[in-house]
């Protein structure tokens, strides 16, 4: 038997997680692993067959064919990740009625001028979207608080309906919902319009993070979510929870907040270290602290599921899908090369076009470098060689620290975060927040998946619906 290339990591339960470049994986116990390293086979014949089927080992007669299969799987994976399948983001305004502690994109005051999209640009933006990609289109309206310019959102929808055709697109409005009213609900009712909102916990925590002069962000959100559920249905609203220090001690607050609002699915993530998001010492915490929090949250969610309350934590589902579902690559953060530009084209309020939300954040922080692909009237995906450099330096397969990592085939690359924190795109993975977060998520979730069958069944449901 001949051993084929693989990487490994030790899980908390004592199992050893193996993966290869094709994305196949297996879990061995310590004695099986020792045998495998020593003699390219274990004493368990069934396990040997499994390892052979997953291209961790080959008999000498089939070595050429096995090598070819591994190569073909890796080539297919790389080409899949290089596909241009963007979400289109449009920023109608940078103005916002909130003044949140950790706003990731900076903001402009709600009454400021010069921070809104020129209505004349909308037709060009939509025609550009049509030229860039075949349907179906996902158009995400970002901010600021986009509902401040509902007129522009309606104009974007109308242009999309006219140029892209109904049924070929959906519009997701990322909003605090503070300005939601009955007229917006009524407008959205028979249109392909969805809402994505931030929910940071129950009233006290949410209002401490999401700062409105009236101090009633949570109450407004609660009312709006209730109305969306009543009028439009549960599939029209999704939440994102950004974990701040005040939430670290109260993971149950996130669950209670979702249950209170009647939402069963949550997406929980650590605070972004980008730009404006983590500049205040009170919001800082380590990924180790986050994982302690996350474990408590996860255990409580699993307990609720076992008691018949079907809660889903989507960041867990996404990490596991990357491992368990071949070809799953719909999450831009977990892509190598990076999903920059390949998975996102952002049309900013000032007509500039960016390859991701993160690049527009970097532009606000590092003003003397042009992170854009030009303006919508003169868009060029190749003119700014920054993108070529960033994408070509984002293949984690060859990154120091990643090349020997068992989670490399499933993980991604975030050149913008590394530029933001370290001044260069590859990053020292031993200090990288991106690496610490995703590696610990994979390690934790796979450990639970393989060491606890009742949890595995719940996680399978999350992954496979």
């Amino acid at each position: 038997m001949r051993m084929l290339p693989f990487n490994f990591d030790r899980l908390d339960s004592g199992s050893i997680f193996l993966s290869n470049v094709a994305g196949f994986h297996s879990c061995l116990d310590q004695s099986e692993f020792d045998e495998f390293i020593e003699s390219s086979a274990t004493s368990n014949r069934t396990l040997n067959d499994l390892l052979q089927s997953k291209l961790f080992v080959s008999d000498n007669d089939n070595l050429d064919a096995t090598q070819a299969a591994l190569s073909s799987a890796l080539a297919k994976k790389l080409l899949g990740e290089l596909e241009f399948r963007p979400i289109f983001m449009i920023v109608p305004t940078l103005r916002c009625d909130h003044a949140c502690n950790y706003c990731q994109v900076s903001r402009a005051n709600a009454k400021a001028s010069g921070y809104d999209l020129d209505p004349n640009a909308i037709s060009i933006i939509v025609s550009t979207i049509k030229r860039l990609s075949p349907p179906p289109y996902k158009i995400e309206i970002q901010g600021g608080e986009p509902l401040l310019r509902m007129d522009l959102i309606k104009a974007i929808y109308d242009q999309a309906e006219s140029q892209l055709q109904p049924g070929n697109f959906e519009l997701v409005i990322t909003t605090s919902l503070s300005l939601m009213d009955e007229s917006i609900l009524s407008w959205a009712r028979n249109r392909a319009v969805y809402f994505s909102t931030s929910l940071d916990g129950q009233q006290e925590v949410h209002n401490a993070n999401r700062i409105l002069p009236s101090q009633d962000s949570y109450e407004r959100l609660k009312h709006s979510v209730k109305r969306i559920l009543e009028e439009l249905g549960a599939n029209r609203i999704a939440t994102v929870t950004t974990v701040t220090r005040s939430l670290l001690e109260a993971p149950e607050s996130i669950i209670e907040a979702h249950l209170e609002l009647g939402i069963n699915e949550m997406f929980v993530r650590p605070i972004s270290p980008y730009g404006f998001a983590n500049t205040k010492p009170s919001t800082e915490y380590s990924i180790a602290e986050y994982m302690t929090f996350y474990e408590k949250l996860f255990n409580t969610i699993i307990k609720h599921n076992q008691e018949g309350i079907p809660l889903v934590e989507s960041s867990a589902a996404i990490h596991l899908k990357r491992v368990l579902i071949p070809g799953y690559s719909q999450y831009a953060d977990l892509k190598s090369p990076s999903g920059l530009l390949l998975n996102c084209v952002l049309f900013n309020y000032d007509s500039k076009v960016y390859g991701s939300d993160e690049t527009r954040m970097l532009q606000r922080v590092i003003g003397d470098i042009d992170f854009s692909c030009g303006e919508v009237n003169s868009l060029s995906l190749v003119k700014n060689d920054l993108y070529q450099k960033l994408i070509s330096s984002s293949f984690n397969l060859v990154h120091p620290g990643c090349e020997t990592c068992a989670y490399q085939p499933y993980c991604g690359s975030d050149p913008c975060q590394h530029i933001s924190l370290m001044g260069e795109p590859v990053g020292d993975k031993s200090l990288s927040v991106f690496c610490h977060y995703h590696k610990n998520m994979f390690r934790f979730l796979l450990d639970r998946y393989y060491s606890h069958p009742p949890t595995r069944n719940i996680l399978k449901d999350w992954c496979h619906g």
């Binding site: 290339p5 470049v21 993975k429």
Partner: protein
């Protein structure tokens, strides 16, 4: 400050450098060598640091073992992947 000396006959430079790469969050370190030893100077020694050091030395030695056994296959795979991608791009 604490100095660890590891025999060159026990660990290659690849194992030492990959191990040290992941120790930066625990302590600043400096690597030098003599004809027989790797000499590592740690600025902030701790039990956690040395636990991690031993674990990483062990695991990178195993990884080196796997890499040695699979190096020719690894190179062949890389070549095949490049050929395959080229073919698909030309198709």
């Amino acid at each position: 400050m604490e100095i660890r000396e590891l025999q060159k006959s026990d660990y290659t430079e690849w194992v030492i450098r990959n191990t040290l790469y992941w120790l930066t969050p625990y302590s600043r370190w400096q690597l030098s060598d003599s004809s027989t030893h790797w000499i590592i100077q740690f600025e902030s020694p701790s039990n956690d640091l040395f636990y991690e050091l031993d674990k990483l030395l062990n695991d990178y030695t195993l990884r080196e073992n796997v890499m040695e056994k699979t190096s020719t296959i690894r190179e062949a795979i890389t070549l095949n992947v490049l050929k395959s991608i080229q073919q698909r791009l030309e198709a």
